[in-house]
Symmetry: C2
Subunit: 208 residues, 2 copies
């Protein structure tokens, strides 16, 4: 079970032991926080010795970085693909919010670690992740600006509006659980409507 | 400085030593997480002995509970007062979002501890805090419903919409820093507009 989940989460990571350590890291960090977790805790959870962990990750920080970079990269890929899925700003924005929200609901444990433990990254690693975050914000902000130019969106400050759109998605990871009544995809669809209205667009009308 | 800040944050808490411990707790938990912080860390930060901490708080969990309950109570008071400040749903909702957002920006360090360490509370203490959270959600949800009835708001699901409104505010605590370009009050005003539009209301028109 753990094996198939970790393969689903990180299809690009090899070997399987590295993926299992990433999953154990996510669960440990989410439960007790990065600083309260030892490499021994993580190795034990993954069914390995602490020495075996170091074969794959030179440090606890390196493991957090792998988790954080991969999570941010997945979010960026998803936002970029959604932005390119439609020409009309209204349709592209709806897709971004739908997928971004659904991802934060479905992957809420990973997303919490990715979002809340970012301050624990060493400086150099932090800069790499911060660049991915800026890329995500830039795509959303450019789309808000494009929608302003096309007359689909009316907002007084594109930067603040773009951040608010992303906030809606990120915060889902904080409260979403497996017991939540709304499915990730359904929540994404509802939030897509809310975000479009927030930007001054009519979500019941497609502009394509 | 620390003394005056802690008195401003918790005017109802006595004596000053207890307030200083709460402030030291907030700073330590925000920095390293609840589980990685010892009562010795907190006492040292507050300039006291570990024994002196136990005079005011029987445990680390009791200190977290004091911080968490007080933070939630302040947020609830602020939301309730804002809701009662206007009869028209549009005006009341604008006030709620303005104040709730400004509070999460101004008190972002406390808010992070309050929001992200809630899982570390013991069961009984968790229930007390969860009740305060439900009260906050109920006020916002009732106002969304009132606005639907009056024809000011048009949303497909009041519960999801109310949660999204609160998410906008809560997530401000995650990214807001003293270096943020927008002041807490200005951010509150902008988010007030965004939230009203999200609910299908025209923020440029007052309904009072």
């Amino acid at each position: 079970m753990t094996k198939s989940l970790s393969a689903e989460l990180w299809p690009d990571v090899q070997p399987d032991a590295a993926r299992r350590l990433m999953l154990a890291g996510v669960e440990s960090f989410a439960q007790r926080g990065y600083h309260a977790t030892t490499t021994r805790d993580i190795a034990t959870k993954a069914g390995m010795s602490p020495a075996a962990l170091y074969v794959h990750f030179p440090s606890k920080a390196a493991l957090l970085f792998a988790i954080s970079r991969s999570g941010h990269q997945q979010a960026l890929d998803l936002v970029r693909t959604a932005a390119e899925s439609a020409d009309a700003p209204v349709d592209a924005m709806r897709e971004i919010v739908k997928r971004f929200v659904a991802w934060h609901a479905r992957r809420h444990t990973i997303a919490r670690v990715v979002q809340y433990e970012i301050g624990a990254l060493p400086d150099e690693e932090y800069r790499v992740v911060a660049e991915l975050r800026r890329d995500i914000e830039r795509i959303v902000q450019d789309l808000v600006l494009a929608g302003q130019h096309s007359g689909d969106f009316t907002v007084s400050d594109a930067r603040i509006a773009a951040r608010a759109v992303l906030s809606l998605g990120v915060d889902v990871a904080r409260w979403y659980t497996e017991r939540s009544r709304t499915s990730p995809d359904e929540l994404g669809a509802r939030y897509g409507e809310l975000a479009l209205r927030m930007l001054g667009a009519d979500p019941t009308r497609s502009s394509s």
